[in-house]
Symmetry: C2
Subunit: 310 residues, 2 copies
Amino acid sequence: MTAKHLSFTILGTGALGGFYGSRLLQGGSTVRFIAHSDVDWMRTHGLRVDSPLGDLVHQPVEVYASADAIPPSDVVCVALKTTQNAQLPELLKPLVRAGTVILNLQNGLTMEDELAAAFPDACVIAGLCFLCSNKVGPGHIAHLDYGLVSFAAFDERGHDWIPRLMAAFSAGGIAVESRPSLPQARWRKLAWNIPFNGLSVLLGVNTDVIMADPDARALAEELMAEVAVGAAACGVPFDTGFTRALLDITERMTPYAPSMRLDFLARREIELEYLYRRPLREVARHGVRLPAVEAIASQLAFADRRNREG
Amino acid sequence: MTAKHLSFTILGTGALGGFYGSRLLQGGSTVRFIAHSDVDWMRTHGLRVDSPLGDLVHQPVEVYASADAIPPSDVVCVALKTTQNAQLPELLKPLVRAGTVILNLQNGLTMEDELAAAFPDACVIAGLCFLCSNKVGPGHIAHLDYGLVSFAAFDERGHDWIPRLMAAFSAGGIAVESRPSLPQARWRKLAWNIPFNGLSVLLGVNTDVIMADPDARALAEELMAEVAVGAAACGVPFDTGFTRALLDITERMTPYAPSMRLDFLARREIELEYLYRRPLREVARHGVRLPAVEAIASQLAFADRRNREG
């Protein structure tokens, strides 16, 4: 087993799993996809990814409807929405053996704690994805921009694996980095996700409109400042200038519909629990409250419920 | 001049001014209305008020298009939206002489300070209205429920006037009370207005839906708790149990569209400045912030701007 010949099982062939699976295939790794509604389509038409990195169609592609039928892989990538995490232990069970790497590509907080608790013999690693990508049809992903994966190990067992994962992703043209602290990496990502996912849903607009409106932008900045308070409360304070740089990046970004907005528009359940409730719960353990984030979370809970009721 | 024979000029013949003007007429006072778009209609058809207190049509009714033509009254009632307050000194100038009572029926904070500064020889009194009333057509008001007016003097000059105002309103079947502290009375009203006006706009629902949803209700309670912090910061803390009682009343209320929601649905400017910005400004003077109220205010500013742009 060398860095160039890792095998991956991708659990969830959406905007995220489809894109990274394609790049890993392109880099020479073995990739097995688990899909749900798209299995038949992908068996016939393969997987299509349109991207500034080059448009690709992988056909045939190794795709499975269920984990039971899959050969064991070195790495299982969790690329489902966190709204499905209650089912995750059951879905992962047939895929994970002692020493299997579980690479969690989800957004939010505390997912790795739960995976490590459910699979104590596995090696849990977070892969934080900075990616603008949408699923536009069955087995069809449109990659818009970015793609960096930031790796952080849940515990020391992950340290040897991270360079090999970086090599496999890098071989597929993906920018990679490694972060020494998983909680810090997670909080840094929340600094963007909490303001811009929530506001894009509640205000019904994309990031560019938020950044251009003085009141919406001020609120985004305030939410980001509260996330910084939360990160510090959890022992992983942001570097000076970090949030300022994040705002500058957002200002220069292509107009972007965050994934929560896409979920909301499609009347899918939004990732409220892991993106908002868990961070609020973690800071509350340190006796800290984030009142503006709480206000946004309550509004999102209300909006999500009504959105899915019809 | 006796308590039963006061003369009133009502500046603004909407849901509020039309209703109270009708009740004052019914109680025997002289009432002069200033209307804008409805003047011609009211000259022909009078003023119609449908109410659980009895449906009334006042015809003929003393109605004026401009303040200049109006005989002087003892009391000028300010019944315009605070969105017009920049024009208020100019509108009031021909109506106010030394000793004229300016009775401010608006929602918000700091309106009386501005009136007293603009008209130092007038007697400024606040009349806080607890009223469910809508304007449903030209010269046509639908009174739904409640109607209490809570009087509070801006300074000691108002103390002699308040019993006479109470008598005049009371004669028209209106419940009245007098409050010793104007700032406290204003903050008590904000305790309802800040949560329910803002959330009715942002969530797009009436009060009953807010009260029935666990997350929306929790947010309303949190906003109310922050208003209580603001009141305390400004030196007028709420009595124990006040906010609890307010929530109980709201729960028992007829499903109600707060005035800000009606303004928003009609694409009119909402009363953001006096209902949100001014209270936030006042507490900031005491070094206090209300983060959830700030978050709501920023969203309202964004929503209002886009709503009126089309």
